[in-house]
Amino acid sequence: MTRGLWTRETVAALTLAALMPLAVFWLWTNGLAGLVNLIFAVIIIGIWHLVFMLVRAQPPSLSALITGLAIAMLAPEELGVFRLALGISFGVVMGELVFGGWGRNVVNPATVALAFLGFGFPAAPWPGFDAPIAWAAIPAAALGATLGIMPLALLLSAAAVAAGALMLGFLPEPVLFAAGIGLVLLVADPVTSAATGLGRVLNGTLYALFVVFFAAGWSGAAAVQITVASALLASLAAPLLDDIAIQLWVSRRRRRHGRT
């Protein structure tokens, strides 16, 4: 073996493998309708990847499937083909491809697409999730953390805050289920979440706090809507959290060594 394995496509393939429990349970529950949605989302994303490959020489990535799965699972229902395609295109192009493809993006394209659809078409109903699918998020997170592709610190801190809120009664069950699925699909994305140890802890905590906050104060919001809004805000805050973590690290080294 002359070179290591951890290229971009390996990580994308492993992330897909880790998400398999979730995807299988969801497909099993939703049947053909879910599969059609998934294939539609993947085709739209694939077309945009192809366009950017031909125009900008940007190699396509397997991450299209991850984005497609997240959008198909969490997108509002009854939108129709055109509006769904518009939302997916906006998310994938503006959230990922214009930055240079997966790995250079600042926000998760699925989060952008879902937020666009949610804010653009507020009348469309959001999907709900039953317990079995939400339970499947746990093996997905465990697989991701074991393989090292999902940040463990983020998952643990989010789970800790959620457990606390659950005990105090601040977190209704549907919101917990949706937030758990959103954590695995949208927030624990290695690229757009915080990249330092402390930053990841803060990122997970912040996401869970947003969820609890919205669940308490956002009347009339659906569980998935709360999840998407929290994921978007948490990922926008990630660079700031990283910066805080790095400043702390640097100042600690300055104190110890007099330089960095």
């Binding site: 073996m1 070179r3 390996t10 490959m53 997966w102 790995g103 290695p190 330092t196």
Partner: protein
């Protein structure tokens, strides 16, 4: 003993035949005097082609610092002096003299070593200087440079590296003497990276100047840059030297006898061999003769200085202690343009943060922000995160793990070169 609290690290598993027992002595028929890897030396040759020299005799000195000499590792005849334009040293090749086996070794007058300046002059004249590495920027220390600290590497976690402890066996007295001498070259501490759990030798007089850094078994925990990053970061105004433990023991012997031993232990490993060996040879040895008879049939490529560094070489450079022979992959046919577009790109693929990446840096620094700073060419951020302590060898594992094919090492070198030029002006 200070422990570097590094638990992370990776030991990639490379194929190699089992190591043959014992240490064989090999003095190659041809030996080259080379500049240290990465250094560009303007020299004045002190010998002419065809001249006979004995071991340890100076064959060239630096043009702008004539006190610093490059010496012949063996006695023999100067075969070729190869200089690049500007009298930059490529190599000086020597043929071994079969007549005088280790008889005539240049003997130095130790009386000048009483003073610090005299000790420096002695080491520079005896050819120790090219064995010393420096950070930041790498290369050979300047003639007047006073280091803020010196790191002695007595543990090595690189794959297929010879164990420095094996090399030090029975030479602890010389090692201690060498360490004492090093404390006179710096006002700061002399750091010694030492395998965690092994007893350290007693140093009588300068015990308080020596700091032992306990290092773990995983790469890159004992990599000099990672050790320095944790214990004593190098800076523009605080250069740090590093020296291998075997060279320190040689230094100790030198300060007793006046003769500088030129031998070094080299481990020969790799998948294209029929047996892996530990040999004792000289600096600048001919790599082809070292691996002769041990190579399996078929095309292969020979690298000096380790598998992760991927540097093809004909001769051992002054600081090389590894020879790796791997099968040479056949050049692949050009893929179809569409396949090429799908799989390759003009600019490097982005790095996805994973646990493997953190491990490959031994969790010593924020890996992702550091690599982003490298990729973007952001000097300030990279320096803040510890760039100046690092050289290519410290990020070689990251490069391997990410499958980046040497991109990170090139980015690191480019950034270091730029910072060096800016600060030289």
């Amino acid at each position: 003993m200070r422990t570097l609290r590094l638990r992370a690290g990776l030991n990639p598993d490379f194929a190699s035949p089992p190591l043959a027992a014992g240490v064989s002595e090999v003095v190659t028929e041809e030996v080259a005097v080379l500049p240290p890897h990465g250094a560009k030396l303007h020299i004045t040759p002190l010998v002419t082609e065809g001249e006979r020299v004995h071991a340890g005799a100076p064959v060239a000195c630096l043009r702008h610092a004539p006190a610093v000499c490059l010496v012949a590792p063996i006695g023999g005849q100067v075969a070729r002096i190869d200089l690049a334009p500007g009298r930059i040293l490529n190599e000086i090749v020597l043929f071994r003299d079969t007549g005088s086996d280790g008889e005539d070794v240049e003997r130095h007058d130790l009386s000048i070593a009483q003073t610090t300046a005299g000790l420096r002059r002695l080491l520079q004249g005896a050819g120790v200087w090219p064995w010393i590495g420096r950070r930041p920027f790498g290369g050979m220390p300047g003639v007047d440079e006073v280091p803020a600290a010196i790191l002695v590497t007595a543990s090595d976690t690189r794959p297929f590296a010879p164990d420095p402890q094996l090399v030090l066996e029975g030479r602890h007295e010389a090692f201690a003497r060498g360490l004492e001498a090093l404390t006179r070259l710096t006002d700061g501490p002399v750091l010694v990276s030492w395998p965690d759990g092994l007893p350290t030798p007693r140093i009588m007089r300068v015990e308080d100047r020596i700091a032992w850094l306990a290092t773990g078994p995983r790469h890159p925990q004992a990599s000099p840059g990672i050790c320095l990053h944790g214990a004593f970061p190098a800076a523009l105004d605080a250069p740090v030297w590093d020296l291998h433990a075997e060279d320190v023991a040689h230094l100790g012997d030198f300060l007793k006898t006046g003769r500088l031993p030129m031998t070094r232990h080299v481990r020969i490993a790799g998948d294209a061999l029929t047996e892996a060996r530990l040999v004792r040879t000289t600096a600048g040895a001919d790599v082809r003769q070292l691996i002769q008879g041990a190579v399996a049939p078929g095309p292969h490529s020979v690298m000096a200085g380790g598998l992760l560094g991927r540097r093809r070489a004909r001769w051992l450079a002054p600081r090389d202690r590894q020879v790796t022979v791997i099968p040479r992959a056949e050049p692949r046919a050009r893929p179809h343009w569409l396949v090429g577009a799908l799989t390759a790109s003009a600019f490097p693929r982005p790095i996805i943060p994973t646990a493997a990446l953190t491990q490959a840096f031994a969790a010593a620094l924020p890996a992702v922000p550091f690599l982003r700073a490298l990729g973007a060419g952001d000097e300030e951020a990279a320096m803040r995160l510890g760039l100046l302590s690092l050289l290519e060898e410290d990020v070689a594992l990251v490069d391997y793990v990410l499958g980046a094919g040497g991109d990170l090492q090139r980015q690191l070198r480019a950034l270091l070169d730029r910072i060096e030029t800016e600060n030289a002006a």
